[in-house]
C-alpha cells in the first residue's frame, strides 16, 4: 500500500476511550479511516453513543472518516450461539460469548476490508484491559494471523498506551467523557448485557474472569474454520448484507 494516493485503514470502533484515541492516532499515517461498528443483536445496545462520537471526530477532522454500521447477528449465531450450551460444558467458562462475538466482528471486518480494497485493519485493544478475553495478547496475536491469511495487516495502535494517558488526550481535546464511575466512564459507548454479566464477578468481587490462555487458544482454533468458511462464502457469491443477513449474488 505504500505510495497509494489515498491510504485507507479500517478500525473497529465503539466510540469508547480506546477506539477514539486509536481513530485520531491513525490519521497521522492514513488519509482515510473507516470506522466499523457492529451489533450482535443480543443485549447489545446504545449505538447512538457511537454515532455521537463519530460526529465529534467528523467535526474535528472533516472528511477523514467513514462510519459503517452493521449487524453481525447471523455470524454471531453461527460462530457462537449455535453451539453455546455444548461449548459451555466443554470449555467450562462463559468467555465464549465475548470471544465468539469478537470473532464474528473480525470475520465481518475481513469481508469489509476485502470489499473495500483495504489492506490495513486496527482495533482499540488495550494492554491495561487484558483481563478482557478479546484483548489478551494471545487473542490479539491469533486475530493478527487470521487477517494475515487474507493479506490484511492487523495492528493495535493504542495497546501500549495507558488508560490515564488516553483519557487525558480526550479530555484535552474536549471530547464528551460521559459519567465517571469508579474506574470507568459510562455512556460513551454501547453496552452489552451478557458482557457485563460475564465481568460482573470481577467488578463486584475482584474475582478473576473464568478463562485462561490455553482454553481461549483452543476455542479460537476450533472456531477458526467456521470464520474462514464465512469469509469464503462472502467471496464466493454469498455476501453479508448490512443487516447481517446473507444474500446470494
Amino acid at each position: 500500500m505504500a505510495g497509494d494516493e489515498r491510504r485507507a485503514v479500517a478500525l473497529m470502533f465503539s466510540g469508547g476511550v480506546d477506539s477514539t484515541v486509536a481513530a485520531a492516532k491513525l490519521l497521522s499515517d492514513f488519509d482515510r479511516v473507516h470506522l466499523l461498528t457492529y451489533s450482535n443483536g443480543y443485549g447489545h445496545y446504545g449505538f447512538g453513543r457511537t454515532r455521537r462520537r463519530f460526529r465529534e471526530l467528523e467535526e474535528r477532522f472533516p472528511g477523514r472518516f467513514v462510519h459503517f454500521e452493521a449487524s453481525i447477528r447471523t455470524l454471531f449465531e453461527r460462530i457462537c450461539l449455535g453451539t453455546i450450551v455444548e461449548d459451555y460444558r466443554r470449555f467450562g467458562s462463559a468467555f465464549m460469548w465475548c470471544m465468539g462475538c469478537k470473532l464474528a466482528m473480525h470475520a465481518r471486518s475481513v469481508i469489509y476490508c476485502r470489499e473495500q480494497g483495504i489492506s490495513h485493519m486496527a482495533d482499540g485493544s488495550a494492554g491495561d484491559s487484558a483481563e478482557m478475553v478479546e484483548q489478551m495478547l494471545l487473542s490479539v496475536s491469533m486475530v493478527h494471523w487470521l487477517y494475515a491469511d487474507y493479506g490484511i495487516d492487523y495492528f493495535v495502535p493504542v495497546y501500549a498506551i495507558g488508560r490515564d494517558e488516553k483519557r487525558r488526550q480526550l479530555r484535552e481535546q474536549g471530547y464528551f467523557m460521559g459519567i465517571p464511575l469508579l474506574d470507568r466512564y459510562l455512556g460513551i459507548q454501547p453496552s452489552c448485557i451478557p458482557g457485563e454479566l460475564y465481568y460482573l464477578p470481577y467488578v463486584l468481587f475482584n474475582k478473576a474472569p473464568g478463562h485462561d490462555e490455553e482454553t481461549v487458544a483452543r476455542y479460537i482454533s476450533e472456531k477458526r474454520p467456521l470464520v474462514d468458511e464465512i469469509i469464503r462464502e462472502a467471496r464466493g457469491g454469498v455476501t453479508v448484507s448490512k443487516d447481517g443477513g446473507e444474500q446470494r449474488s
Binding site: Y42, A94, E131, D183, L197, L200, P201, F205, A208, P209
Partner: protein
C-alpha cells in the same frame, strides 16, 4: 491465572459489606435477565439456547460465589474504587 488473564484487581481482598451488597446486586441482575429471557423465549425461539446457557452459567457462578471460591474477603471497609488501581 491472575497473572495472565485475571486483571489488575483479581484476587484483591474485599470487605464483607462489599461481598454482601455485591451478592444482592449479582443475584438481582441475573434473576432479572433470566426472567426476561424466559418471557422473550416464548415469542422468539432463537433465545431459548441463550436462556439455557444463562441458567447453567448463573447456577455455576452462584455456587462458586456463594462458596467464596476465588474471592478474598476480609479487607478493611468497602474498598470499591479506592486504591485498587
Amino acid at each position: 491465572m491472575a497473572g495472565c488473564c485475571g486483571g489488575k484487581n483479581a484476587g484483591r481482598p474485599i470487605s464483607r459489606r462489599r461481598y454482601v451488597l455485591g451478592l444482592a446486586f449479582f443475584a438481582t441482575y441475573h434473576v432479572a435477565v433470566h426472567a426476561a429471557l424466559v418471557a422473550a423465549g416464548v415469542l422468539m425461539p432463537r433465545l431459548r439456547p441463550v436462556k439455557d446457557f444463562h441458567r447453567q452459567y448463573f447456577a455455576h457462578l452462584w455456587h462458586e460465589t456463594w462458596r467464596q471460591e476465588g474471592l478474598t474477603i476480609g479487607g478493611e471497609g468497602c474498598s470499591l474504587g479506592k486504591g485498587e488501581g
